[in-house]
Symmetry: C2
Subunit: 190 residues, 2 copies
Amino acid sequence: MKQMEEMILAEGQVLPGDILKVGSFLNQNIDTTLLHQTGDEIARLYEGCGVSKVLTIEASGIAIAAAAGMTMGVPVLFAKKHRTSNVDGDVYAAKVHSFTHGVDYNIVVSSDYLLPTDRVLIVDDFLANGHALRGLMDLCEQAHCEMVGVAIAIEKCFTGAGDELRAQGVRIESMAMIESMSAHEIVFRS
Amino acid sequence: MKQMEEMILAEGQVLPGDILKVGSFLNQNIDTTLLHQTGDEIARLYEGCGVSKVLTIEASGIAIAAAAGMTMGVPVLFAKKHRTSNVDGDVYAAKVHSFTHGVDYNIVVSSDYLLPTDRVLIVDDFLANGHALRGLMDLCEQAHCEMVGVAIAIEKCFTGAGDELRAQGVRIESMAMIESMSAHEIVFRS
């Protein structure tokens, strides 16, 4: 998506450790024009796929999922992150490792809200190592629902995680696909 | 707002400890029709007030803030919650006590994203004891920006916190105002 790439080039900052800082428009201060365009583009890409629910993870996936869900006219469910390993009640839970924060955490959704009849579109802001995405896919498997596909704002292609999942048959649509990045240059997949 | 009240009556569950469970439509599984209506209503209420930024707090405020911000055409900034007391870098931070979880936490925004020239609308899902709201107001004071008003999905009027702030001159618009609630009955302020 041209607008996402242009915004990354204009405002993204590449920091040591392969970190792309996009807080000025995506994941802390949110540009709502770009957000609207992103929601519309995700809805366009998955039109006719019978999506019944958008699934994301707190916190920075929520705005993008909400934009997509409003355009598509379907509910948005977000998994919560818990640092503790004890998870109560009727929930689906999966363990995810965060490289950014160097910790394991559980992602959890109530089993009331993810149903075997659901056709789920997973939405998130970043796809880097794929751990959060695999956790969300795990929740869908536990709920026996159909995972229709994935929509990501920014994919770090150089990790290989997105292409590995594509090779396994997962449909992943990323608004911007970064092949390589340094402090001097960001190269997108064409 | 009629639609919010109707949804609370249809799906809200009052639990011991004055907890109103609205996870099925507001703060875990999000009804995007209601979300759209809420965003539009907030935009209507604050039309002509020169709002330049919507400020909220992760995680359950984000979808509502995003809906309002998209309709109003202004950016949405969300404060992050930190359990640690050490906050690095150029940030504004305020301490908030959570009655739900029985802990203190810091709410933090980067000082790059909240400017003295901003006219801020604070948005959140709940107003109960007002601690999170006072924390967000504190961030606005630190940034020397103008706090235009507050928009809340559900206010628990019986705590008195909202009316206390109104008496101090703060404009608070709540989509549903609960005067009293029990397992048998929820009474709204008319």
